[in-house]
Symmetry: C2
Subunit: 406 residues, 2 copies
Amino acid sequence: MLEHHAVAVRDGIIEQVLPASEALRQFPNYENVELPDHVLIPGLVNAHTQAATSLMRGLAPERQAAAEKRVLSAEFVREGTALACADMLLAGITCFSDMYFFPESSLEAALEAGMRVVLGLPVMDLPTPYASDPADYLRKGLALRDRYGDEPLASFSLAPHAPYSVPDAAFRQVATLAAELDLLIHAHVHETQAEVERSVAQHGMRPLERLRKLGLLGPNLIAVHCVHVEDREIELLARHGCSVVHCPSSNLKLASGFAPVDAMLKRGINLALGTDGPASNNRLDLLGEMRTAALVAKGVTHDARALPAPVALRAATLGGARALGQGAKIGSIEPGKRADLVALAVRGPCYDPISHVVYAAGREDVTHVWVDGELRVRDGALETEVPALHSRWQIWQNALEGPADS
Amino acid sequence: MLEHHAVAVRDGIIEQVLPASEALRQFPNYENVELPDHVLIPGLVNAHTQAATSLMRGLAPERQAAAEKRVLSAEFVREGTALACADMLLAGITCFSDMYFFPESSLEAALEAGMRVVLGLPVMDLPTPYASDPADYLRKGLALRDRYGDEPLASFSLAPHAPYSVPDAAFRQVATLAAELDLLIHAHVHETQAEVERSVAQHGMRPLERLRKLGLLGPNLIAVHCVHVEDREIELLARHGCSVVHCPSSNLKLASGFAPVDAMLKRGINLALGTDGPASNNRLDLLGEMRTAALVAKGVTHDARALPAPVALRAATLGGARALGQGAKIGSIEPGKRADLVALAVRGPCYDPISHVVYAAGREDVTHVWVDGELRVRDGALETEVPALHSRWQIWQNALEGPADS
């Protein structure tokens, strides 16, 4: 924690972190953004979302699947993701890991918004307007990766949806491709008790054991949720160096359960945080997830020292970066890293900036956001308004609501 | 839920709720505030806080008692409460129920900010710079009530701090005075398992049973927390018509436990919401508490239907108003009630305004706040800035931090 310091940024890279007075001497020609009553933190990493579903935020859960089926298209994904990107930037999120259909449309929207994105290339055994079967999903995803592999703000993961929606053969193919192409694997894992039980009935084993047998466990696995994991499964995740993405609001709202994050952290598992899709949260607010994670861990363990503020902040920044294989590139404010930075205004006393950011601050305090050195939010407003998006909400909303009940 | 409606306000009272087009015809000379993309909700009622402790927000819990002892004064309470009022108004809180020392200073600050307040007149067996013993506390509190009894925005409760800090004799006196003077009783009840056990050891009974024997249970009791209550205690609270103030963030942060709000609601108990003191939360954000309450109830009961959005919104508005004995005066948008109103900007699709307010909205969306018909927040900013408060934070912070460790 450094007071009265400045961050010198050049060509999108953090050049130096130094006392503010020295910075003025050393870099007299740099543009100077003074933030005297602020805390500067690394850009927040939303390690799991389905950004496009922001257009379904607030739609009753039991109506979402049918509504999604009716509207799912490249255009829906592009516009939903654009809406989500605007929302996330204003909340201090500079990077998100997405898992949804038509990832090329998510990519377009993220790049237009100037966000860093890890695109999950979805794989599942369910025909959709995007793809017909696991092989088709994989083909389309890999073609996208080939086309955009050099895009500085984008990277890719293979995203087999979940153990219950992906057959063994497809999982094996994912494991092989991930190894060959050095790709991340992004999957929902043990979100609900029901899915664990279904796996035992169908496969004779719990999902994590099945993933282990299929060769999916490793440092490139981003295991989302991990709500219902036993001690030996925590051990398994730790031993294989997997990262876990904790989505506390979603787990609460869907009554999935309480992920044992305290135990996972004690076992040394790299923890990241995610909002999950805005249709099951319903806020794209990682500051909020950080606070909720820190509070709920204390309630569940009956220990006010569980998930302390520095650990929560790390999960929302460097933990996310590491889960996404970008720990050397983003996630902390260090010379040589990309300049993904967020400034929060401090109102009222501040005894400990880290405690303040985790427990007291909120997205209403976010004033400035830089992604890769580019200013995306200034004084709490987007630098570039998303054109015409506002007028289109109602159109999508009408399409998603569908005909009224008769 | 009404769409395209207007609220006509005159002399601080809601005169009519009618279609916007009719309102323009019927009240052509009224000032017209158009909020086309907004939800209008009743002012939020923060049914339990210690506003002045906003100056200690973020101070390590183990250092709070000593720090408070060092600075506790009328001036500390006035300035801390002024800071809290600014914070609460911006978050859409129009009324708060306070429990702290020097309530005359809290009152001054609340009236200066233009907020509705229920001042707890503290009673406890602990000498402080404010009062020496229970009798002294009561004498000072009642003198304040005599002086300000006619203040339209202020009302009063007797606030015996908690069963563990108030002796039987003082409780009996509180019960008698409350009955004689028709006053509310505002007390912490069963916040922690430890205090319940201590009561069994000291008094041979659990605190609620002791309160019952001492004649404290009744419709005027505002029982704060009620985390550790058994079924028969829920039954007791219900039978006596007590209100319960649920403070979910505080209960989580202090690892107190999970209040069984779902069971209390099912038994028909009137539920209100509170932030608790900003030093143990650390946000004065009732929209946040509403969301946290709704989410955590689902997690705890494993039932996504627990504490649904309309019930959460009611707890934060009419439930709070009723707990504070003001159900006929505030808490809903109805002709004849005082005009405590909050407008929230809706960004993105909105399928159900109540779901939106509870799960998706946040204090960053609050644009306008009226208390008793007076505009206090316009376009997300206070109408009247608190003079010189900002420059005084650091002074208080230094005093509270005290000398550095050596």
